[in-house]
Subunit: 242 residues, 2 copies
């Protein structure tokens, strides 16, 4: 079974949460838009779905996956759909619900991290909202990072196992890895200062990075570098002052 | 089976998406925090869970439901968990995934509507971020409302039935009703101007409001009035100018 992933070809973005699951599971997947346009790839491949020219559920935005007859958009819905087959969630309803709940909170942090550099409008450049971004980023660092990461630290403390759902590794652990990677890139000073408060989360991040298939992926050209065109962005003026 | 809902007792907020499902299904539920504190209710009942003093999954914020041994937070996860039992989603995996995807997009709009009045920080008063709010609201009205509501209009056009998933009524229709209700309250001028572009969505909103149990709920004191302490807020200066 090949899963077709559709996501902007030049950034990690929200698509990376799906890529990590596919890579860690070692399944055959096609990152369609990263193929040349002449080979059916490129952004045009995404646009055909967004324009409604394809059957199945209509995606509003990438990432989405095409899995046989199913078109599934929204990261948390994609992971909920794929994870049982990928072996990345325990196969019972209660565990799947807990995973979904945690993934949605990770998505909330990611959206807030995005809005630190785009607090006014996604249609404007960062430079057109830099003053507001500085204000929002200060609150994000002082209030939201402690709230959210403190929550995940508690979840790990209560899980009863090595991973966020307990003994079973899941896509939630991959997503927590990605969240921490993005925050480390965007806000290195703030994350360094906060690290002593989240030892379990820091340890989880390190252990996920050592998983063989994930380590191979992270070292490969398939893992795109972070840039200031991405969901998480490093602008020194938005990071905490020492 | 009684389901315990925990949500701030004085606003519709995100909890209302869950309340509508419980009310439309006609099930017995306990809106715990709306009971007096002396009777085990009030905000203190919520805080006991947020503080980690209860077993089960740790909620970061309300709404959450306690359903036997399960504690489930995050609106989309709550609805995905409850809907099969409430008869509010078709009983197959593909339909549940489509419902989840749509609910997540509804949640995205709701979060953006919230950020029109709080673009900088939830910890600040509206008056402390009014200038930024005016800027963000203009983009929300001009760009985001057309994008999101246009998407839902297309979803209805493609569904092949009277409701967003086709012939089967689902919690997604209730959530679309709630989204439109909130936007109508917050941005009456903008929504009136945009109405001709979304006839199916306007019609869906009217049809949902006529469902007998929902109509009874909306006319009851259980349906809280909108205020400027809620997720959706009406500030005339943020609404579109005529």
């Amino acid at each position: 079974m090949t899963i077709d992933l559709y996501y902007w070809p030049s950034i990690q973005g929200r698509g990376e949460f799906v890529r990590l699951a596919l890579e860690d599971a070692g399944v055959d997947y096609d990152d369609v838009a990263r193929r040349p346009a002449a080979d059916g790839g490129g952004v045009a491949a995404i646009q055909r779905y967004l324009a409604g020219n394809k059957p199945g559920a209509l995606p509003l935005a990438p990432p989405f996956v095409v899995d046989g007859a199913h078109v599934v958009a929204q990261v948390a819905a994609i992971l909920d759909h794929l994870a049982p087959r990928l072996g990345l969630v325990p196969d019972d309803a209660a565990a799947r619900t807990r995973a979904l709940q945690l993934q949605l909170t990770i998505a909330d942090v990611a959206a807030e991290a995005h809005d630190t550099h785009h607090p006014i409008a996604v249609s404007l450049y960062y430079a057109q909202q830099r003053d507001e971004a500085k204000r929002r980023a200060r609150h994000f660092i002082d209030e939201r990072i402690p709230k959210f990461l403190g929550h995940f630290e508690q979840v790990l403390a209560r899980s009863g196992g090595a991973w966020s759902l307990g003994d079973d590794f899941s896509y939630v652990d991959l997503s927590l890895f990605q969240l921490m990677s993005g925050l480390d890139y965007a806000f290195p000073r703030a994350l360094t200062a906060f690290a002593p408060k989240i030892p379990r989360l820091r340890d989880l991040h390190a252990r996920v990075a050592e998983r063989p298939r994930l380590a191979a992926y992270l070292a490969s050209p398939r893992r795109l570098p972070w840039t200031t065109h991405d969901l998480f962005r490093h602008y020194p003026e938005l990071d905490a002052q020492p």
